[in-house]
Amino acid sequence: MILWFTIAQVIVAVAAGLLCVVLGLAGRRPSDLSVGALALLELLLIAQIVIAIIAPFAGNPPTGSLLEFWVYLVSAALLPPAAVAWALVERSRWSTVIMGIAALAVAVMAWRMQAIWTIQVA
């Protein structure tokens, strides 16, 4: 895991999440802006998957549970597409809020992944 990349992910996820929640509560339907924010987040998560595959071979092995890490990463990567799919099916303001909540959940999970990889308490 690369710390600055995790921080970038968390920042993008929180920003996208707040943006979507605010837009949704303001009554906006899913737009290019809100869906685009989720797409950017998904791009970062796919990059994270590639990094996680390569890192152990590049002298950056995980100290924690690799299985737990991958469960988190796969779950996180599934959230934005699921939220966007929902938004495309049901084009209401609440779909925008849902995309925001999904992005905020990804933010928490990204941080948790960093913790699993680097420090293992259990």
């Binding site: 299985l67 737990e68 469960v71 959230l79 209401s92 609440w94 999904a102 999970m109």
Partner: protein, 151 residues
Amino acid sequence: MSPSSRPRMTGIGRVLVIVYAIMALAATGRSFVQIVQRFDEAPLAYALSAASALVYVLATLALVFAGSKGWYLTAWVAICFELAGVLVIGTLSLLLPALFEHPTVWSWFGMGYLFVPLVLPFFGIWWLVTHPPAAATAASPTDADTAAVAS
């Protein structure tokens, strides 16, 4: 979409369902990892993790289909079980930390999940109270009994 086909899950109810779905995903993933890797270390805590994951999955499904009587009662049972779970486990984890050295979703009132597990059942109950199914008066108690056994 005709108004009678799926009148239930509109508006903010959808947001509630998605939060439940995310909790279900998180709890299922976590209990899967715990049970696969080190079930023998703490069977009680990890069995509880799995039970809470099942309750979240059940609650998610029940909220989606809460338009029908059976699912509406299932949602009540699942959410009340969830509320009791987070309160009992949360209290026990504070009073008897030795019992819960290994974390569950509900330890410390769901602190590891930003207290979402503590807040969520109240929203769920509020939503169920304000959105009863159209024909709730004819609800049979047997549905609740079977749901209680299942959960």
